[in-house]
């Protein structure tokens, strides 16, 4: 069994072969799915906890504070301590809440997260499912999270939650358009919806550089729209704490609240991953077409490092938004989408199609 940090394909195939050699095909598949599920579960929890920690440190950095610094070195285990506390807390279901929906809602949000993560290529060969319609799948799945948010707000039997959920519904449905359209712009450039092919297509230059100005516009629009889609500041109207206390998850406590909280951070991770994959080359190192020597040097840095670096850079940018801007109002939010981002996007698609048609891209 050969293991290389540069290419996980051989390693994965070796495990696959070993399982199929030793078990019946049915049990081999069951084992594989179990292993993948466990890996994702652990990675998900750790990543979520780390992002919460990162956000607290970043916001502390912006706000002249130290941030968590008591539990563990540099307060690294603070979020784990918080998580344990949340797990031990009582789950309160308030009177007259719709119990079934109230209990299902956090799980819907989490499941949607898992489904989206499955399609993301983390490194060469480190990829759970590789569809030929990968981008479409991710867009379709991530828009489902609005169902969980709406159910949470509706079933809580609280007016604050309901207002938050309604805002969230309007917001996610609107901004889904801009997200999809800016992704379509890039798909026109890439010529495929398969994530692995998109990443391979950037072997001689990332799409944001290859696609001229339309790619840059699509990137900016995507960042704005996706920040809005995942309900983060300055678009965090769904949970606007100064207005609605906590919005749609006001009435949740304990681990159910933690699910919403984690899913918010994992949504940020997914959004940043997709942006990194479509615009910044995913796990592809920084290549410049024709410069073989330079490209070879860049290849020495493992793809997983490139991927994590790009994703965390984008997460950092999204965090900067949140901690430096005031919040928009609901009508301004919808105006921004329908009057500015959507027309810009539509024109942008046309320009991109024209550029690709004429073969003007690099």
């Amino acid at each position: 069994m050969s293991f290389s940090i540069y290419d996980f394909t051989a390693f994965n195939q070796a495990i696959d072969k070993a399982l199929f050699d030793n078990c019946s095909p049915f049990w081999a598949t069951v084992w594989e799915l179990t292993i993948i599920g466990l890996v994702f579960l652990i990675a998900y929890a750790l990543m979520g906890l780390f992002l919460v920690y990162a956000e607290r440190k970043v916001c502390a950095f912006i706000q002249n504070r130290v941030g968590p610094n008591r539990v563990g070195p540099y307060g690294f285990f603070q979020t784990i301590a918080d998580f344990i506390k949340l797990m031990l807390k009582e789950l309160i279901t308030i009177k007259n809440a719709d119990k079934v929906l109230f209990n299902i809602a956090p799980f819907i949000v989490i499941i949607v997260n898992f489904m989206a993560i499955a399609a993301i290529p983390f490194a060469k060969g480190l990829h759970a499912i590789d569809f030929d319609i990968g981008v479409l799948y991710v867009v379709a799945v991530s828009s489902l999270s609005v169902v969980g948010v709406l159910l949470a707000g509706w079933s809580s039997n609280s007016k604050f939650s309901l207002i938050g959920a309604m805002r969230s519904g309007a917001q996610i449905v609107s901004y889904e358009l801009s997200v999809s359209l800016s992704l379509i712009t890039m798909i026109i450039l890439a010529g495929t919806m398969q994530f692995s092919a998109i990443v391979e297509g950037q072997a001689n230059g990332w799409f944001i550089f290859k696609g001229h100005i339309p790619a840059v516009i699509a990137f900016v629009v995507y960042l704005i729209a996706s920040t809005a889609e995942i309900n983060r500041g300055p678009f965090d109207l769904a949970e606007a704490e100064s207005e609605l206390t906590a919005g749609f998850h006001t009435e949740y406590s304990g681990i159910k609240f933690a699910f919403f909280y984690l899913s918010e951070y994992m949504n940020m991770f997914i959004v940043a991953s997709i942006a990194a994959t479509l615009f910044l080359g995913g796990w592809m190192p920084f290549h410049i077409g024709g410069w073989t020597g330079f490209n070879n040097v860049m290849d020495f840095i493992p793809p997983i490092v490139w991927y994590i670096g790009k994703t965390f850079f984008l997460i950092w940018v999204i965090m900067l938004f949140k901690w430096t801007f005031p919040r928009l109002r609901i009508d301004q939010l919808l105006t921004l989408e329908w009057k500015y981002l959507l027309p810009i996007n539509l024109v942008n698609i046309l320009i991109m199609a024209f550029i690709v048609l004429m073969g003007w891209h690099f």
Binding site: Q63, K159, P234, E241, E243, F325, P326, R327, R329, I330
Partner: protein
């Protein structure tokens, strides 16, 4: 037991619903309860319910001597404690016709203005927070801390000072006071630019405040709204200008007036007022005359029988103290005219027809302190 049924405050129309904002809510700045009547996100009307932190200060004052009353005024508008103390001190001094030393007047003016800056800083923090920009909170608190440190070194307390006594001050200022105050002014002149960078110049903030929460000059006067809120609508109501007390007649400063009457105008009034306060302090800090820090007062202060009223310009508006004395060492009746109470009464008028998010911004621009409303 008979069941108590509260009649609905207004007739509920189709599609209208009520929501209780507070008494536990992050943006009511304390235990204020607003009963909102909403249609979708639009505020149809609202009813403030006060009294959650009512302590009966006015009644307590009837048993206390005048020096004791000063300690109670701290607990009303705790963010402008010095100014509240000042009102009671001035009232007693004017009633007894005491000649207060010039030194006291200068120091009181400087401390009042420092308090005003500190109060406006905290308002800026919480206004930013209400708008969703949480970083503002820490910027403002960082700078406010410097003022509180000066207070702490000078007379030992940071929030509830009770430093003024009838006739003067409790003790003389600390030798470092002048130097540290000058250092602070130098520091804050630089830092107030940060405030403009992070909030005033922000396009989202301007979009959310311009034209929101309009109140006309006539309405401001009829509601009795004073202070920066009133001056945002062009109502010239600065007590420091119109009825100068302490050393305000000796300094050159501008009464900040804006005419737009919206949330942004109220915001800008306060931002300019911080700069004007720094100007006042700069004019006085080097010229504090030598002399006693208190006038000679009797051990037991008794006001001659009669009615007295004294007003000062607190950080949020006109703060008045009304005393009916029967010649005893404690007042027969005491009434405080707190600026926040009148300002809050205009909230319903200001926020009708705007969204919930606007209501929060308007409330932030009123800068209410609940213990001052409830007393």
């Amino acid at each position: 037991m008979k069941e108590v049924i509260n009649p609905p405050a207004v007739n509920i129309e189709e599609g209208e619903y009520h929501i209780n904002m507070g008494p536990q809510h992050p943006s009511t700045h304390g235990v204020l309860r607003l009963v909102l009547s909403l249609q979708g996100e639009t505020v149809k009307s609202l009813q403030p319910h006060c009294g959650y932190i009512h302590r009966g200060i006015e009644k307590m004052c009837e048993k206390d001597t005048y020096p004791q009353i000063i300690h109670l005024t701290d607990r009303m508008d705790y963010l402008s404690a010095h100014i509240n103390n000042h009102a009671v001190c001035l009232l007693v001094e004017n009633a007894l016709e005491v000649d207060v030393p010039e030194r006291v007047k200068y120091i009181r003016t400087i401390l009042d203005e420092l308090t005003r800056i500190a109060s406006h800083q905290l308002w800026w923090c919480s206004f930013g927070m209400d708008m969703g920009g949480q970083t503002c909170y820490f910027y403002g608190l960082r700078d406010r801390e410097k003022i509180l440190d000066i207070f702490e070194e000078s007379f030992g307390s940071r929030l509830l000072h009770s430093y003024y006594t009838p006739g003067g001050l409790m003790m003389d200022i600390h030798p470092n006071f002048q130097k540290r105050t000058k250092d602070f002014i130098k520091y804050f002149r630089k830092k107030i630019k940060d405030y403009d960078y992070i909030l005033t110049g922000n396009i989202i903030m301007q979009e959310r405040t311009k034209g929101i929460g309009y109140i006309s000059k006539e309405d401001v006067i009829s509601y009795g709204v004073t202070g920066p809120t009133g001056r945002g609508s062009g109502f010239s109501c600065d007590v420091r200008k119109h009825h100068p007390y302490a050393a305000y007649d000796k300094v050159d400063f501008r009464e900040v007036l804006e005419t737009a009457g919206d949330t942004f105008a109220r915001y800008m009034v306060r931002m300019h007022e911080m700069r004007e306060s720094m100007k006042i302090i700069e004019q006085l800090i080097d010229n504090i005359p030598a002399g006693d820090f208190t006038a000679k007062m009797k051990a037991v202060i008794k006001l001659p029988a009669g009615e007295y009223y004294q007003r000062v310009e607190a950080a949020r508006g006109e703060y008045g103290v009304y005393v009916v004395s029967d010649g005893n060492k404690s007042p027969y009746r005491m009434k405080f005219r707190s600026p926040n109470f009148s300002n809050l009464s205009a909230l319903d008028h200001m926020s009708r027809g705007y969204k919930i998010a606007d209501l929060i911004a308007i409330g932030g621009s009123l800068d209410y302190v609940i213990p001052d409303i409830d007393r």
